[in-house]
């Protein structure tokens, strides 16, 4: 049934999860109030969405409109935010807000617990390739609220990509990097190409490019202490941020290669405002 659900628009996903949580849960002792790790998780699920909303407010302080952004899913020790930016500019500001949320909360949780957080940000064009569907079994008690889910290869890619990022860092999908690197104003966003990795089920087994994001004014706090054990940080320390022109050239080369060799598309993100 054709409906508004699958009108072309961009869905942006921002995932934050607790790194090292399995060990922490198994190693912490319980007292009469229960296991100590419960408090860390309660704080995480309560505070991260609040901090994210505060960062969005700060990022959009000079903008007339704020895009829709809310918690989409909570899966284990992971929170996934969903936003529907209506322009590349909104996408850029949301990415900045999410990066600041990761860096700030990584410091905050580490002050209280031997835990860290890490983030992954990706986007999918909701069109023929990626779809938005209603799931009747998940309708809320108020029948006016429909449960909507997102399915498609570009949605799946992000969940795979999230496994490639280290503590206190943010990794971005290549279509998102391509969009942001194409903007004239960087808003302080820097990209570091840190290599490629095969992601199960993505691009027919061809390696996927890994881009970390940093901001000059807000770098991962503990990277000097952990560089030896984290390949992403090794690359971050070795490599200066890549100029935007080189980023665009690299993503273009990867797209061409994938299209020719295995007919695997990296779909660029487009907005109505681009037309």
């Amino acid at each position: 049934m054709p409906n508004k659900l699958n009108q072309s628009r961009v869905a942006m996903f921002m995932s934050v999860d607790i790194s090292g949580s399995t060990n922490f849960k198994s190693e912490t002792q319980a007292d009469d109030k229960g296991p100590a790790w419960v408090g860390a998780f309660e704080e995480f699920f309560r505070e991260v969405p609040l901090i994210m909303m505060g960062q969005i407010a700060a990022a959009f302080i000079f903008e007339d409109e704020v895009p829709e952004c809310s918690v989409w899913k909570v899966i284990g020790d992971e929170i996934v935010f969903l936003a529907h930016p209506t322009s590349a500019r909104q996408t850029q500001l949301l990415t900045n807000a999410f990066y600041n949320t990761i860096i700030n909360y990584d410091s905050k949780i580490f002050e209280r617990w031997p835990l860290r957080v890490r983030g992954c940000c990706w986007a999918a064009q909701i069109s023929n390739r990626n779809r938005q569907i209603e799931i009747p079994e998940m309708m809320g008690s108020d029948s006016s609220q429909t449960y909507v889910d997102y399915l498609g290869p570009d949605v799946d890619t992000g969940f795979r990509l999230g496994g490639c990022v280290g503590r206190g860092q943010l990794i971005l999908s290549s279509n998102l990097v391509q969009l942001l690197a194409g903007l004239e104003e960087s808003e302080g966003i820097q990209f570091h190409y840190v290599g490629r990795k095969v992601l199960k089920g993505v691009y027919k087994g061809r390696p996927y490019p890994l881009f970390l994001m940093t901001r000059q004014d807000c770098m991962p706090k503990t990277w000097e202490w952990e560089a030896e054990e984290d390949q992403g940080l090794v690359a971050l320390r070795k490599n200066e941020p890549m100029p935007y022109a080189e980023i665009l050239k690299l993503v273009d080369q990867i797209q061409n290669y994938l299209n020719r060799m295995c007919h695997a598309m990296i779909e660029s993100l487009t907005f109505d405002t681009d037309k």
């Binding site: 969405p49 909303m53 960062q55 969005i56 407010a57 700060a58 409109e65 829709e68 918690v71 609220q145």
Partner: protein, 110 residues
Amino acid sequence: MEINIKEVNGVNVVEFTGNLDTNTAPEAESQINGLLDAGAAKILVNFENLNYISSAGLRVLLATAKKMMVSGGSLKICSLNSTVQEVFDISGFSTILSLAANEADALAAF
């Protein structure tokens, strides 16, 4: 959640009772948008009877503040309990939005 709207000295006072969260934020936004569509230039959100506000509720306030900024209007918020105040502090909304201790102080500040 209950929403009560009254007018005091040309200010639209919106009183919330209960929780302003994912389930109730759409109704809150709809009610406030109704005021904006009707041309309200001064809105005071009174949280005296609000138990909790989530990130979805904060987004309603942020969207309202943006719309009022564009239209040249003014939004103020008053009477936060300690739980709601903590949410504002964690999110940083305490420094972004205009807060007052009680309704009288907020009305006087318009």
